[in-house]
C-alpha cells in the first residue's frame, strides 16, 4: 500500500539558510499535518491543512511557512535557520474529518534536518 512520502530524507544546512521540506500524502487523503520531533522528545504539532486551507496552527515559528497544493502535497518552508531547528520533521496524512469515526493519521518516514 502507498504510504506518505517525504523528501528529502536528510538535509544539512548552515545557520541562516533556508530549507524546503516536501510531503506527498497517501492518495485520496486530503489532510496533512506537520510535526517536529527534537532529540529524545515527542513529536510537536506545527501546522495542518485540510483541502488546501490551513486548518490548525501549533507552535510553528514565524520563520516557517507551509502550504498545501492542488495535488494535496504540502511543503514546509523554513527560513533563517537556527541550530535549534535541528530535528526530525514528520508529515502525516489522513482522510480528514467525517461525520463520526476516527480520523487516523499516517506518518511519513520523516526528514532529518541538521543545522550547522
Amino acid at each position: 500500500a502507498a504510504g506518505v512520502i517525504q523528501s528529502p530524507r536528510h538535509l544539512i544546512k548552515e545557520k541562516r539558510e533556508t530549507a524546503t521540506l516536501k510531503c506527498y500524502p497517501i492518495p485520496r487523503h486530503d489532510t496533512v499535518y506537520w510535526y517536529q520531533q527534537g532529540p529524545g522528545q515527542d513529536p510537536q504539532f506545527l501546522i495542518s491543512f485540510y483541502e488546501k486551507m490551513q486548518s490548525d496552527k501549533g507552535s510553528i515559528p514565524d520563520r516557517f511557512s507551509a502550504q498545501q497544493f492542488s495535488d494535496y502535497h504540502s511543503e514546509l518552508n523554513m527560513s533563517s535557520l537556527e541550530l535549534g531547528d535541528s530535528a526530525l520533521y514528520f508529515c502525516a496524512s489522513s482522510l480528514g474529518t467525517s461525520a463520526g469515526g476516527t480520523d487516523t493519521q499516517y506518518f511519513g518516514p520523516g526528514t532529518r534536518l541538521t543545522v550547522l
Binding site: V4, Y33, Y35, Q41, D42, P43, F45, S48, S55, D56, G58, F90, A92, S94, G96, T97, S98, A99, G100, G101, T102, D103, T104, Q105, Y106, F107, G108, P109, G110, R112
Partner: protein, 116 residues
C-alpha cells in the same frame, strides 16, 4: 500541566514478559486515545485506539482506559525483541461527540527494549 503525561522509562524486559505502558491525561471530556509505536529513525505508526472506557484487544496488545482516573494503559503480552521501540500515547484535538480528528498531542514516549 501537559494534556497527556507518560512514564518515560526506559523499560527493559526479557522476551516473553508482560509489558505495561501508562499515560495520564488532564481533560475529562476526552473520549479517544491512541497508541503509536515508533521504531528508531522511523515515523510513528498507529497501533491501536480506544473510545471511552474499557478494554480493546488486538493480538498480543491490549489498550485500556480508566476514565475515572484519567489513566490509559497499553499491555503487551509475550513480548518479543521486535517489540523494542518507543511507544507514544496520543490524544487528538477534537475528541468528543463520536468523532476524533485534528492535531495529536503526544506523551513523552516510553522506550521499550525486549532482550532475548
Amino acid at each position: 500541566q501537559k494534556e497527556v503525561e507518560q512514564d518515560p522509562g526506559p523499560l527493559s524486559v526479557p522476551e516473553g514478559a508482560i509489558v505495561s505502558l501508562n499515560c495520564t491525561y488532564s481533560n475529562s471530556a476526552f473520549q479517544y486515545f491512541m497508541w503509536y509505536r515508533q521504531y528508531s529513525r522511523k515515523g510513528p505508526e498507529l497501533l491501536m485506539y480506544t473510545y471511552s472506557s474499557g478494554n480493546k484487544e488486538d493480538g498480543r496488545f491490549t489498550a485500556q482506559v480508566d476514565k475515572s482516573s484519567k489513566y490509559i494503559s497499553l499491555f503487551i503480552r509475550d513480548s518479543q525483541p521486535s517489540d523494542s521501540a518507543t511507544y507514544l500515547c496520543a490524544i487528538p484535538k477534537s475528541n468528543a461527540g463520536g468523532t476524533s480528528y485534528g492535531k495529536l498531542t503526544f506523551g513523552q514516549g516510553t522506550i521499550l527494549t525486549v532482550h532475548p
